[in-house]
Amino acid sequence: MTIVKYKTNIQCTGCIKSLTPVLNNLDNIDSWKVDLESSNRILEVDLDDNDKETVFNAVKGLGFEIEEIS
């Protein structure tokens, strides 16, 4: 399992609501959370494999900005 962190512009619980079904439905994601407190709105994803692209595309697809940071 790999933990991947992304910098995003996910703003509020409403954004998280729209993100929830999309991320939950990704097969390779075990768990995820967004730190709304941090200035970089870090999305931390626990990946089953190394396929970071799917997460990137899914979040991007919802209209958020996303950028891998580690």
């Binding site: 619980t13 929830t20 079904p21 939950n24 768990s31 931390e44």
Partner: protein, 736 residues
């Protein structure tokens, strides 16, 4: 606009008819269909009429249309009905308390108590004007719209009996001076009201039960749900679940939504949806359904369908629809009453006119007395008692035999059934996996092996392992200690005992470890599979040494019951959510030619509907939630006593012993009850047919005979008593 609303205040099927006939001609109303059992109305209307106007119109004839959203409506309706039931009960108790002394005075003292008539009058007042007030208000509202129902008849006969009695109490001289006895009929009036209130109360109680099936179905979903939101676990209310939400299911939890497994392995009991008796293994990607129960192991599921979209909600909707589409046979009696009332009134008026204009002497006295005698003798008491008394005795007789009849209509219909649909699991079969065969290799000493099997299977969580443990426990004591136990998901389990490796599991487990199966055992295993049994292999090192067959056993009485039903001309179908092979094997074993496998719950109900459209009178027997829709849809729904509460509440009949032979008994009971009802109706009618003309004075021109109103009253009681006695005869009828 076409909408369905709840209506409160309907007391009989004739109410439904009168609402329909009153609303239909209104400007702007296109279509009206009132459903009495469901207490609802479907109205199609255009903008020429406002909903509030419709509500007002309905109020005018004495009913309440409940507006609002479906959830509010259901609640408001339930509250209204609860209030109604409570008030009906107090009216009934009140009425009975006052009626008994009147009855005793009238029957046993007859004028021996001072001021007896006055006392009886005082006691009757609250019964008539409080307990029975509704009859008069409904009759009055009906009269304003030139219609009549059973209430009209009750109001008329009790009202006339009462007024005539009051007249004779206050002014006994009038008839005495004409050489006639001034009799009073308070007891007839109050007893009729009490009996009819009793009937209504029983009916209302039965009606309120149907909605509790739906409530229970709704109760299958948990109130609180644990979800993971933004990486954190939190507990939320059921109705806050969103699509795509990640839900945590612990062992024993009810599944709240339809969804798919994201993580974890567990067994889920889906018998309520699929009828499949063995809990199903769920791994990543498997579908789960709301209302099913997670057995062992934790799961994380993603909600794919929530709220009204779930399969369970669909079942609830179908049950509701089926319950509301039941035809109301009761309409018959009210139709008869609808014709009977005007005829009797007509006859009374005719009697008055004939006596007034044609009688040679004392014409006014006779013109007054004879129509009253006609009205008293035409009292619907015997007619009203004919059906309910027989049904009550029939229902009691059924209860004695372990056949619980919830709605009388099922008892009225059961003898007419020509098609019976049987659910497989739990109805034809026991409904839980059981060991049917254990076959060991000839060269094996099975005793120790059984102990090893027991020890290994005791460790396993698989439902089939549980069945094997149950079976072996009955005869063996676990005396061995196994080592290195390992459960292999989807395949079975393994462990070592005295340095020997044992494996227990399916064929794939054996293939994976290249374990060879002796030819004889292999053949036997194949034969068992053809009988739709699940075969478990047991290996010692690299050879299969035994096989255990597990299946849902057919109940001991099933085969003979099916034969008996076929003999009396009932065509039997079997439906199951199970696979084709299992269905075929079971159908063959029990002698059913028509069967369908892989049937979903909604399809069961549709199948019943299809047969009904072909003109068949369909009975359905089942035990699960998946049968609820079909049970409610069928003309006669029969639930197995060992089944779910939902099934029992959707069905009209519940069999206490989960035994198909009871269905034969129910049919016999229905036949005997209907025969009694027909005899009762015959006697009630014949009596009216003969007594009314005599009361009107038809014999007078020939031999001067005029029926004394007191004898008319006594004759009326006698007809009721004869109906009662005939109904009680049913108690001794032989049903086997």
């Amino acid at each position: 606009m076409k909408e369905q609303y709840k209506i409160a205040g309907m007391t009989c099927a004739a109410c439904a008819v009168s609402i329909e006939s009153y609303l239909k001609p209104q400007d702007g109303i296109l279509e009206v269909a009132v459903n009495y059992p469901n207490q609802s109305v479907t109205i199609e209307y255009d903008n020429k009429i406002a909903l509030e106007t419709i509500q007002q119109k309905i109020k005018e004839i004495g009913y309440t249309l409940i507006l609002g959203t479906s959830q509010d409506t259901q609640k408001a309706f339930e509250e209204l009905e609860e209030k109604r039931l409570a008030s009906l009960k107090s009216k009934l108790v009140f009425s009975a308390i006052f009626s008994i002394p009147i009855f005793v005075m009238a029957m046993f003292f007859m004028g021996k108590i001072p001021y007896e008539n006055w006392i009886m009058m005082a006691l009757s007042l609250p019964v008539l004007f409080w307990s029975g007030a509704e009859f008069y208000t409904i009759a009055w509202k009906k009269l304003k719209h030139f219609s009549a129902n059973m209430d009209t008849l009750v109001a008329l006969s009790t009202g006339i009996a009462f007024l005539f009695s009051v007249f004779n109490t206050v002014n006994p001289q009038y008839f005495l001076s004409k050489g006639l006895m001034p009799h009073v009929y308070y007891e007839s009036a109050v007893i009729i009201i009490t009996l009819i209130l009793l009937g209504r109360f029983l009916e209302e109680k039965a009606k309120s039960k149907t909605s509790s099936a739906i409530k229970k179905l709704m109760g299958l979903t948990p109130k609180k749900v644990m979800v993971i939101r933004n990486g954190e676990e939190s507990i939320i209310n059921y109705d806050e679940i969103l699509k795509g939400e990640l839900i945590i299911l612990k062992p024993g939890d009810k599944v709240p939504v339809d969804g798919k497994v994201k993580k974890g392995t567990s067994f889920i009991d889906e018998s309520m949806i699929s009828g499949e008796p063995i809990p199903l293994e769920k791994t990543k990607g498997s579908k789960v359904f709301a209302g099913t129960i997670n057995q062992k192991g934790a799961l994380r599921i993603i909600a794919t369908k929530v709220g009204n979209e779930t399969l369970l909600s669909q079942i609830i909707k179908l049950v509701e629809q089926a319950q509301s589409s039941k035809p109301a046979i009761q309409k018959m009696a009210d139709k008869v009453a609808g014709i009977f009332v005007p005829i009797v009134i007509g006859l009374a008026i005719l009697t008055f006119a004939l006596w007034y204009f044609l009688a040679p002497e004392a014409s006014l006295t006779y013109a007054l007395l004879t129509p009253i005698t006609v009205l008293i003798i035409a009292c619907p008491c015997a007619l009203g008692l004919a059906t309910p008394t027989a049904l009550m005795v029939g229902i009691g007789k059924g209860a004695e035999q372990g056949i619980l009849i919830k709605d009388a209509q099922s008892l009225e219909t059961a003898y007419k059934i020509d098609t019976l649909i049987l659910d497989k699991t739990g109805t034809i079969t026991e409904g839980k996996p059981q060991v049917t065969n254990i076959i060991w290799d000839e060269n094996i000493i099975s005793d120790t092996l059984e102990k090893v099997v027991l020890a290994i299977e005791s460790e396993s969580e698989h439902p089939i392992a549980e069945a094997i443990v149950q079976h072996l426990k009955a005869s063996k004591t676990p005396g061995v200690t196994i080592e290195a136990f390992q459960s292999i998901t989807g395949l079975g389990a393994e462990a070592t005992f005295e340095n020997t490796m044992y494996r227990i599991g399916n064929e794939n487990l054996m293939l994976q470890h290249k374990i060879n199966t002796p030819h004889a055992l292999d053949q036997k295993a194949n034969a068992l599979k053809l009988e739709a049994k699940t075969v478990v292999y047991i290996s010692q090192q690299d050879t299969v040494v035994g096989i255990i067959a597990v299946a849902d056993k057919i109940k001991a009485t099933t085969i003979s019951a099916i034969k008996k039903l076929q003999k009396i001309g009932v065509n039997i179908h079997m439906l199951t959510g199970d696979n084709e092979q299992t269905a075929k094997a079971i159908a063959q074993q029990v002698g059913i030619k028509q069967f369908q496998a892989n049937v979903m719950p909604a399809e069961k109900g549709k199948f019943v509907e299809q047969l009904q459209k072909q003109g068949k009178v369909v009975a359905m027997a089942g035990d699960g939630i998946n049968d609820a829709h079909a049970l409610a849809q069928a003309d006669v729904g029969i639930a197995m006593g060992s089944g779910t509460d939902i099934a029992m509440e959707s069905a009209g009949i519940t069999l206490m012993q989960s035994d198909l032979k009871q269905i034969v008994k129910a049919v016999q009971l229905s036949k005997a009850t209907m025969q009694t009802i027909k005899q009762n109706l015959f006697w009630a009618f014949i009596y009216n047919l003969i007594a009314i003309p005599i009361a009107a004075g038809i014999l007078y021109p020939f031999n001067g005979f005029l029926l004394n109103p007191m004898i008319a009253g006594a004759a009326m009681s006698m007809s009721s008593i004869s109906v009662l006695a005939n109904s009680l005869r049913l108690k001794n009828s032989v049903i086997n």
